[in-house]
Every structure is written in structure tokens, then in C-alpha cells.
Subunit: 333 residues, 2 copies
Amino acid sequence: MPTYSKEVRLAQRPEGYPDSSTWDVAEVEVPEPGPGEFVVRVELISLDPAMRGWLNDVRSYVPPVGIGEVMRALAAGTVTASKHDGYAVGDVVSGTFGVREYAVSDGAGVSRLDLDRAPMETWLGALGMPGMTAYFGLTDVGAVAPGDTVLVSAAAGAVGSIVAQLAKARGCRVIGVAGGQEKAEWLRGLGLDAVIDRREGDLLKQVRTAAPDGVDIYFDNVGGELLDAALANLARGARVVLCGAVSAYNEESLPEGPRRYMSLLVFRARMEGFVVFDYRDRYGEAVDAIAGLIDEGRLVAAETVLDGGVEAFPEALLGLFEGVNTGKLLLKV
Amino acid sequence: MPTYSKEVRLAQRPEGYPDSSTWDVAEVEVPEPGPGEFVVRVELISLDPAMRGWLNDVRSYVPPVGIGEVMRALAAGTVTASKHDGYAVGDVVSGTFGVREYAVSDGAGVSRLDLDRAPMETWLGALGMPGMTAYFGLTDVGAVAPGDTVLVSAAAGAVGSIVAQLAKARGCRVIGVAGGQEKAEWLRGLGLDAVIDRREGDLLKQVRTAAPDGVDIYFDNVGGELLDAALANLARGARVVLCGAVSAYNEESLPEGPRRYMSLLVFRARMEGFVVFDYRDRYGEAVDAIAGLIDEGRLVAAETVLDGGVEAFPEALLGLFEGVNTGKLLLKV
């Protein structure tokens, strides 16, 4: 067993895209668990768009990562030492362990992973935060109903790919938006009713063509031009589910807002934001629903796993914003 | 009885603010009612921000006014001739009679006004469209509850003044925003808990000071900077009721959207639009509630009545956008 653990710390707050000056890689001794604690060898680190927001010194639903602190990250791994009654050596767990090789935990926010039910990758994707976000955003905030026309942004991404497939399973007509022909092809293979390649431009027209009767639910992970295109093409009583605005996360100033927001009035529609943690008491319901669809072969849990260990984290995060992934993006430690 | 009736027609679509080239004033013969029709002598014409939108050749919840057509307007008056079984000479009615001295009607969309219950002015204000808009926007879209902090834009205007007073009657803490010290003083006299004079600038800071625990309901008649200031200061689970965007109605291009819309995510809040006509089956409920509060002395139905007849309509409409009115703005014919 190694005695040193590498970790990635926030060196300074980035303006725009993070670069090499944003991060420090350090080595520390592998921690010993104190009473009521255990140590996890981190095996997979989750790359999430929300990470960019955690780097800004602004009030949000979680505090920012402090300068000099280990970068916050969801991760999964195996318990290697324990003085905690609830966790034994060999247990496989997920939690907010951070971008590091070994983490110490008191069990707060930690979940035990059943690898007989699904592999570790899926517990960070379709059965993890992205899956929970997709499920509660679509069912609770979006109030999805059979027959709805559902437009999904970043549909080949971690959240979008689950939203799109859940909506299909609920009897909706589903339109996915993705960047590039390869992803578009992949989405068609998942059975979506229409696919928009955002690189082909004129999103307003593309959405109108794909949804001539209007969009009942727009699941927004990206903001920007696509949000305006969706607002211009709503159906009466539509729901715009605000999940993210990845197009803006690396902007140096507050980007323009949705110019067509008054469409909400014309179409008697609503735009609503949510934070998945508010649904934590109901995660079991979502896991059962999604795992059930996976078992029935009706939902594909896709992951893109990068190699390179924690040192590769800075590049992996940029890859996320470039859209290198299909499905959930993970970094193997 | 006069034999000629003046009317104001749309001569050409304005860019920006309407001016003298926008309108034609014409004289036509006073119409005779056909079978199933009656004629109304128009006595009061309602000036509404929505009128500006009706001048644009764009899809909305009602079709635009056509070039050469009489300007659409809600109005009230007295029946002077009738071949309609439901209406007799002397009946006092309101309807979409247009900017004209005499209108012919088949009764569609016409309401009989009970002048024993309230004066004609009030039937176009607190008990008319503005009152209905205030009531259903606050209760149904805003889901108002006792203890809510309610921020009201254009609070000295036709809709805003009713929203503010209804919210007070429902046990809310009410903050009104208005332009100028005179209106601010008037709002304080209505019993509002705090008043913001938008001419004093830095709306974001003024809202934060007036609502340190955040805004539960923002009733938006104006859009623009105040919408962003409200979004930055929401309480968790807040509702932004989109009723109008008067700050943008005379813009020549689509104005910027609300830059801070992602606050809806941080605060788990929603922004929802509505059109009052959707609630027409429940107008009676709103009239009873508002008339009851008036009778109890708990709600002031304010109107500003301009003189000058239909020829004064172009100037009166500009006055509306300048905010010459306290309460409902009406033009006396």
C-alpha cells in the first residue's frame, strides 16, 4: 500500500476557462482514520459542469472551493482502513471525496454501492447524481406526461442522455440536441424521435422544424442560444426545467439573459430551477426506476472513462466543456 | 343625438414610441344596429400597456390591430339603440369597443355594469381587467400565502396598485416600486410596508435593503433592470409572476433578457407567465373579493381620468408609458 496520496488543489480562481495556473498537484501522506472515520482509495472521479461554478467566489447552493483546498468532486472507491462501525475494509462507496487518491471520511453523504446491481461507473452516472437530476427534473419540475414533446439539451451528456431515455420510456416524443454528427447518430440509436446537431446553426429554425406543435418540456442544461430557441417554440402551458447553463459557466462576466423570456407569458408557460439535493429523501425511488429500465434493456447507461489519474483532472475538466464525452465523464485514478 | 362618430385608426405601425404618424382620426356616421346588434355611446376608454403590443405585427395572445382598423380598446358606455334581445337603451356596458365615440356590438365579450355597486371608472379598473389580472396573477400564478414578502413593480399603476393592496389584505409584507416621490408617498398612504423609488437608482441594492430575507413573490409588470434586481434577491421557492414588460414595449428590437435568470436555479424558484382571459370563467370570484375589500375600506380603487375625447388618445397612450397616472388611466370621451 502506498504511503503518499496525490491531490489536486485550487491554486487560484480562474477567469474564463481554468488553466494550468488554476491548479496545484500536491502529495500528502495517506491519512489514518481517526475514531468514527474510514479511509477510501478513490478509483473513479466524476467530472461535472457544476464544478466550474464551485471555483467562483459567489453565493450559490454550495459554498465555493477555497484557495488551497482540495478540489471538490464526487467520487467512488474502496474502503482501505476503518475505525467507523458502519464501514469495513473492502466496502465500495461513493461520496464527495474530492480530487485525491485517498480520502478520509466520517460517512457524511457517503453511499454504499452494490456492484452486483450495477458497476461503479453507473453508480456515478445513471444511478448517481446525473440520473437523480434527470429523474426529478423531468418528473417533478417538468411534470412529464405521456404525449409531451420533450426537448433535451446536451442530450448526449450525463444528464441529458438519461432525461431523453426516461422521457421515451414515459411515452413522450423526444428531441435531443447535441454537438456533432457522431453524437447525433448515437442519440438516434437510442431511439429519439428527432435529433438536432447544434453545430448546424439556426437553432430557432431547427427546433421549429423538429417541434412544429411546440415544446411541452424543455430540459435546459446549457442556456444561451438554445434556451431562446426553445422559448420561441413553446407549446401552451410548457415547462422549462432549468438544470444548468453550461454555455455560460466559463464566461468572465454575466452572460446575456434569455431575450425571449416573455414567451413564457404568451404561452402561459413556466421556467423553474431546482437543485437535486432537495430530493435526497427520494433517491431510492429514482434508482429503482432507472435501474429497472436498465435491466429491461430500455435505458443505456453510457460512460466515458478517461485515464491518467488525478494529475489528468485539469485536462479532463476542460474536456467536459469541450464535450469529449458521450454519457457520464469519469476519470480513472 | 349626433350623427357623426369620431374614431382613431392605426395609420401605420410605429417603430419605438407611437407618434402622430401612427394614427388617423376619422369621422363616420353613427352606426345603426342590425338585427341582434346594439349601439353604445362610449364614455370612457381604457389605456392599457398591452395596447403597444397590439400595434406590432407579431403573433401574440391576440392578433395585431390591422392598418386602417379602429384601434382596439376596452371601453364603457351606454346603449343608445338596440335590436338585441339582451340589451336595452340605457343599459351601461363595457366591452372591447375600440377608440371611437359610437360602437356597434353583437354582445360578444360585453359585460353589463352595475353602477349601484361601483362607478363606471372602477368597472374598467379595480373591477375590470386590471383587477382581474392582479387577482389571478397573485392568487393563482403567485400562489400567495400569508407572511410572503411580495415585491410589486409599477405599484402605483392600474394592476400594481391592486396587487399591492390584495397582498396586504392576504397578510403579506408588501414592497412597492414606483417612479417618483409623489407616487411613493401615495403608496405609503395605502399601507405598504416599504416603497422603492426607482428613480433613485441601484435597484438591486434597494430591493436587498427592503427585502433582506428575500422576495417570495415578484409581480413583474415592467421587466428590465427591476426584474434582474428581483431575481438577485429571491427567497427559496420564490414565484416570479410575469404580467408584462412595459420597459420594453416601445423598444425597436428585442431587449436583453434577464441576466440573472439562473437565480431561479439557486433559489429553486419559478418564473411563470399568464394571460388573464384564461380565467374568464372565474371573474365573478375576483370581482366579489375586490368589491368586498373596497366596501370594507381596505382597498382603494384609484383612477386617473384624462379629458379631451378620442382625439386625445395618442397623447394619452404616451402618457401611460410616461407614468402620468396613479391607478387606472382612463380617457373621457
